[in-house]
């Protein structure tokens, strides 16, 4: 029997890693992947809780999250591509025009 606490701890760790990656990395694609990782961590937590309470809603939520993630990736990569076309760069810091 899988210990639920550890599953949730795992999700926390993955989420942390994803966060750090999303903050620290400059490569746009890697940032996107880190966000995916964060989403997955959340999914894991949801699944763990659904197992904990014996309630399927959590898994439904996971399905929704997966769908959203897919959509997000599609649009995000679209942005990446057009960005790369326009300024030949993958560096997040090169796209900081939208400021004061």
């Amino acid at each position: 029997m899988v210990p639920i606490e550890h599953a949730i701890a795992l999700s926390g760790i993955l989420f942390t890693i994803g966060t750090v990656g999303a903050i620290a990395r400059r490569n746009l694609i890697v940032v996107l992947m880190s966000i995916e990782l964060m989403l997955n961590a959340v999914n894991l937590a949801l699944v763990a809780f659904s197992r904990l309470w014996g309630n399927l809603d959590g898994q439904i939520f996971v399905l929704m999250v997966i769908v959203v993630a897919a959509a997000e990736v599609a649009v995000g990569l679209g942005i990446v591509i057009s960005l790369f076309r326009n300024r030949e760069s993958m560096n997040v810091e090169d796209v900081s025009l939208l400021k004061w």
């Binding site: 903050i23 997040v92 400021k99």
Partner: protein, 676 residues
């Protein structure tokens, strides 16, 4: 508590039909911007009103058919439902509202028909014709809502509605600034009254709510009133001079507040000033709104709340005295007016005074009776004057008239009937019975302080009324014509569409009184049918008095009336030069009277100017412009801008990761705080 009463789906259509007509007109005029052909307009508007008249008649028959408590209700839907407070859009037909609605719709239909002829020349001018009938129908709806509404809120809706329509119609010929000004004046003065009315409603509702009887429907209020009858309120010291201070009964206070509303709507001292100016509107409007129906709304309201006033002697006394003083005050002003419509306006004010006098002394049925008869003959008079004005090509000044008898005999006849009716000659005038009943009840009202004085004032006013009405009549129709030649050549009888309503009204003006004469004069069983019909709806105890006293009083009154007529005859037919000399000899007094005692000027100086000054200097320039706009709105905005543009903007680095960092940090902080 309404549910076990007899339901009748019919009632809702009485107010609804005119509303529909008005809506059609309004949509066409405002949205589609097209006017119907004249015939359709007439068919629609007059059709709607006449239909609702017939409906009210049917409803009356249904009502008489009801055994037990004579009440019909029609719950349309729940208008406002909030917790234990709920106000329905529900219509209630009891004898009182039945009489009212019949009067309103009946006179209303006649005047609608009359307007077809009167507004004739407006129908080729821009949309005027249709606009007029749109307003008129809207007014009918509002008035009927006021009359038939079964709760205070609905009544208030109608109350405001009629105010709006009166404003719109007074300023109907808005091209002339003066008319627009008169409309505004009427509206504002009414607002003052409405404020009092509203306060009264709130006071009543909350005091009932305190007693756990929260209600707005009249019947519920009546039921719950017992809970607050004993309540008293302590007046502040600076009101110590008031009679009965420092402790008043709550009902008295409520009654006074409501009566303030009545003052405004029904043009009582001190809020009567708008009514004479309201004559700026078309004559049918003056007849319908400012004589027959709307201005009587106050009287109706007092009668409707009679159960309250019966418990509020102080308020009743105030009502009675206000009515009496207004009656004689307006009558004296009317003596010196030359504008025919102004005279009628002041006579309306004074007749309303009569009604309030009656209501004040507790003779509500008499008040309603007089209301009905007055509706008949005053409408007749106004329409008659309208006919005269038409004939004289919109000349209203009686100085420019005279001797019209020979030019327009029919109009002369009907107008004469109206004059007799209002003067109240026995048996041939509807005015006689109602006025006499009022005076009688005033004479018997021992519970009202100074009732003899009230009665005396009533009698004198009767005389004065007779005098000035005949004065107008003589000045208009007798003597030699003072009109300029080119006008004189065109004087003509109005069209039949104008005359027919006049005939009908003339008939009513004569025989309308037989709706409810006292047995003393018409010795048949249940002669005072209207009174007996009304009694159950009102909380009033019928008075019993020896016929001899009635004869004596009536005789006295009649004598004084005849005296007034005689004076008028002497002064304006026999010796037309006398009045000028008398006026000259009286000097200042006559000038004061001619200038309506300078009341408008006084108000202007004392209230209007200071108010305007303060509003402009202090409230507008001082508080609004400076404090709120500059400091409040712009100041805060400026502050935010400074902060943002100098400090906070550096947070927006454009680096998404920076935002993410801040977001996480914030989330951490919140979580840490919540789970500390």
């Amino acid at each position: 508590m309404v549910d076990e009463l007899t339901q009748s789906q019919l009632l809702r259509w009485i107010p609804l039909l005119p509303l529909l007509a008005a809506a059609v007109h309004g949509v066409l005029l405002v949205v589609v911007r097209r006017t119907l052909p004249r015939g359709l307009v007439i068919l629609l508007s007059c059709g709607a009103v006449i239909a609702s008249f017939l409906l009210s008649f049917v409803a009356l028959i249904e009502l008489v058919g009801v055994e037990g408590e004579r009440i019909l209700v029609d719950n349309v839907y729940t208008w406002i439902g909030a917790g234990r407070f709920s106000a329905d859009v529900a219509y209630l037909l009891d004898p009182l509202s039945a009489a009212m609605s019949l009067t309103v719709t009946g006179v209303g239909s006649l005047i609608h028909v009359y307007s077809i002829g009167y507004m004739d020349e407006d129908h080729r001018e821009d949309k005027g014709f249709q606009r007029f009938f749109c307003y008129l129908n809207l007014f009918m709806f509002a008035m009927l809502t006021l009359v038939l509404g079964d709760n205070l809120l609905l009544m208030f809706l109608g109350w405001e509605g009629v105010g709006l329509c009166s404003y719109l119609l007074i300023g109907f010929w808005y091209a002339d600034r003066f008319n627009a000004y008169c409309g505004a004046k009427a509206f504002i003065v009414n607002r003052i009254g409405d404020f009092g009315f509203l306060v009264g409603i709130f006071l009543l509702f909350w005091s009932l709510a305190d007693a756990g009887q929260a209600a707005v429907a009249f019947r519920d209020i009546e039921a719950g009133l017992a809970a607050i009858v004993e309540r008293t309120v302590v007046l502040p010291d600076w009101l110590g001079f008031l009679p009965g201070a420092p402790e008043w009964r709550l009902t008295t206070l409520i009654g006074i507040c409501l009566f303030v509303g009545a003052m405004g709507k029904s043009a009582q001292i001190p809020l009567y000033v708008w009514l004479p100016d309201a004559m700026a509107g078309p004559t049918p409007v003056s007849a319908l709104i400012h004589a027959a129906t709307m201005v009587t709304a106050g009287v109706y309201m007092v009668c409707r709340m009679s159960f309250l006033y019966a418990e509020a002697p102080g308020a009743s006394a105030l009502v009675a005295w206000t009515g009496a003083i207004t009656a004689i005050f307006a009558a004296t002003i009317a003596i010196a007016q030359t504008d025919i419509k102004k005279v009628l306006a002041y006579s309306t004010v004074s007749q309303l005074g009569y009604m309030f006098l009656a209501a004040g002394v507790g003779a509500y049925s008499a008040a309603i009776f007089h209301l009905v008869t007055h509706a008949f003959f005053k409408a007749l008079l106004f329409l008659g004057s309208g006919a005269v004005i038409l004939a004289m090509h919109h000349e209203q000044n009686t100085d420019k008239m005279g001797g019209l008898r020979s030019y327009i005999p029919r109009t002369h006849a009907v107008f004469g009937i109206g004059v007799i009716a209002i003067a109240g000659l026995p048996y041939i005038a509807s005015g006689f019975f109602s006025k006499d009943e009022i005076l009688l009840s005033a004479y018997l009202a021992h519970h009202v302080p100074g009732y003899m004085a009230l009665w005396g004032i009533g009698v004198v006013t009767a005389g004065i009324t007779a005098f000035y009405m005949f004065r107008v009549h003589f000045r208009t129709f007798f003597g030699e014509c003072r009109a300029p030649e080119e006008v004189r050549s065109h004087i003509h009888e109005p069209k039949n569409v104008v005359l027919v309503p006049l005939y009908v009204l003339a008939f009513l003006a004569i025989f309308g009184g037989y709706l409810g004469p006292s047995e003393a004069f018409v010795p048949v069983p249940d002669a005072n049918s209207l009174g007996n019909f009304l009694l159950p709806a009102l909380s009033q105890e019928a008075h019993h008095v020896a016929h001899s006293t009635e004869y004596a009083l009536a005789g006295l009154t009649t004598g004084i009336i005849l005296l007034g007529i005689l004076f008028a005859y002497l002064l304006y037919v026999r010796r037309p030069e006398l009045p000028g000399r008398i006026a000259a000899s009286l000097g200042g007094l006559s000038r004061a009277v001619a200038n309506k005692y300078y009341v408008d000027e006084i108000y202007d100086a004392v209230i209007v100017r200071p108010l305007v000054l303060i509003s402009d200097r202090v409230f507008f320039r001082g508080i609004d412009a400076t404090l709120i706009d500059e400091v409040g709105a712009n100041g805060s905005a400026r502050a935010v801008r400074m902060l943002a543009s100098n400090v906070l903007k550096y947070l927006q680095s454009g680096l998404a990761q920076g935002y993410l960092f801040l977001m996480i940090a914030g989330a951490l902080a919140i979580i840490g705080y919540l789970t500390r």
